[in-house]
C-alpha cells in the first residue's frame, strides 16, 4: 500500500477501525501517521466548536416553530382545478412555467445519475398523488399558492408517472419556484432570472 492510497483512506474514514495492512503502514511511515493524528485532532477541535448553545436558544426556536405550525396546520383539503385562484397569477408565470418545462426535458433525459432523496416541497404544502390525481392540503395562512405551481405540479406528476426520476425534477423545480417566489423584483431583473435557470441546470446536471 502506498502513501497516497492510505492517505485517501484516512481522509475518507479516519474515524473507523484500521485494517492490519493500514496499521502496519502507519507504524512504518511517519508522514502518514502524522496525518492520521492530525485528522483526529482536527475532528476533536471541530467537535468542540460544534458545542450547542444553551437551552434558551432552542426553547425560543421551538416556541417560534410550534406557533408557526399551529397557525399553518392544514384545515381543509381541496381538489385542484384549472381555475383555482386564477386572480393571483402573475403575468410572467405562464411563460416561466412553459420555459421551465421545455428547458428541463432535454436536461432530464440526458442525465446519467440523479439523487434519490426526496426534497423539501414544503412551501407548497404536503403534496400527494391519489389515483393519478393531484391533491394538495392547503395551509390557510400561506402567503402565496399560485395557480401556475399547481399546473406545473400536474405536468410534473404526469412526467413522474412516465419517468421515475421525475420526482427529483419536481423537487428541484419547486426549489426554484420557491426562490422565485421570494424574489420580489424578479420581473424587472432578467439577469437574476437567467441566474436561476443556470443554477437549476447546474443542479440537474449534477
Amino acid at each position: 500500500m502506498n502513501c497516497r492510497t492510505l492517505q485517501e483512506r484516512l481522509i475518507e474514514s479516519f474515524d473507523q477501525e484500521r485494517s492490519p495492512e493500514e496499521t502496519s503502514h502507519l507504524s512504518a511511515c511517519s508522514a502518514c501517521l502524522g496525518l492520521f493524528e492530525e485528522l483526529k485532532r482536527f475532528r476533536s477541535e471541530i467537535k468542540k466548536a460544534q458545542a450547542a448553545p444553551d437551552t434558551a436558544f432552542f426553547d425560543e426556536m421551538r416556541r417560534g416553530l410550534f406557533a408557526q405550525i399551529r397557525e399553518n396546520r392544514p384545515s381543509k383539503e381541496i381538489r385542484v382545478t384549472p381555475i383555482f385562484r386564477k386572480e393571483r397569477i402573475p403575468v410572467w408565470a405562464p411563460v416561466l412555467a412553459g420555459l421551465l418545462v421545455l428547458a428541463l426535458i432535454p436536461v432530464l433525459l440526458s442525465r446519467q445519475q440523479l439523487p434519490t432523496i426526496q426534497g423539501d416541497l414544503a412551501f407548497l404544502g404536503a403534496l400527494e398523488t391519489v389515483e393519478g390525481e393531484v391533491s394538495i392540503e392547503v395551509y390557510p395562512e400561506d402567503p402565496v399558492l399560485l395557480e401556475e405551481e399547481i399546473a406545473i405540479t400536474d405536468e410534473l406528476l404526469l412526467a413522474q408517472s412516465e419517468e421515475p426520476e421525475g420526482e427529483v425534477w419536481i423537487q428541484e423545480t419547486f426549489q426554484l419556484l420557491e426562490t422565485l417566489e421570494e424574489t420580489e423584483d424578479l420581473e424587472s431583473d432578467p439577469a437574476l432570472l437567467e441566474e436561476e435557470f443556470l443554477f437549476l441546470d447546474e443542479v440537474l446536471s449534477g
Binding site: 477541535e45 426526496q118 416541497l121 414544503a122 443554477f199
Partner: protein, 204 residues
Amino acid sequence: MAAEEIAAVNAASDLDLVHRVQEHDDLRAYETLVRRYEKEAFGLAYTLVGDREEVKDLLQESFFSLYRSIKMYRGEASFRTYFFKIVVNRCRDAQRRKSSWGKIFWSPSADIEGESLEGITEKTPSDALIRTELGREIHSALKRLPWRQRTVFSLKFMEGMKIREIAEMTGLSEGTVKATLFHAVLKMRQALKTALGLESEVHS
C-alpha cells in the same frame, strides 16, 4: 398525557415518530423529533452559515419545512439524512440569496474577525471555543472553502457521516464526494498549518 405515554414517545424510533405525525398530526411526536435533532442540526448549520441568530431562523424554517413535507418521507433514506438535506438546502438558499442580492457580501475575514465574531462570543459560554485562536482559525478556514467542499467537509468531520450517506444526501457520486473531501482537507490543512503545527505532507 400520562407519564407512560410520554416515555413511549421519547423511546420511539424516528420512523415511528414520523408515522405518528404523518397519520395523526401528532405534535408531541414531532416535538420529540425536533428535540432529537436540533443540536446536531445547529452544529451543521452553524458551520455552513456562521451566524448564530441566522442559524436559529434557518433551523425554525427547516423544521417547519420538514413538518409540511413529512408526508413525502417514505423511509427510503434515514430520517437524519432526509432532514439534514433540508437543513443544507435552507443554508444554501440563504447563502445564495445573500450573494444574489448583495445584501451581505460574504467576507470570511470580516465575519470571523469583526463584529459577527464578537456577537457570537458574547452570547453563550458554549461558544467559548470561538474565543480561542484555533477556533477562529478553524471557522475562518471553513468559511473560505467553496460551498460544496464546506458542506462535504462538515458532514464528514462534524456529523461523522459515511461517504455513501454524504453522496446520498448531496446527490453527488461517491467518487465526487471523496475527491471533494480530499481537496477540502488539503485546503483546511494548508489554512491551519501554522495554527495546528502541521508537519506531515499529504500526497495531492
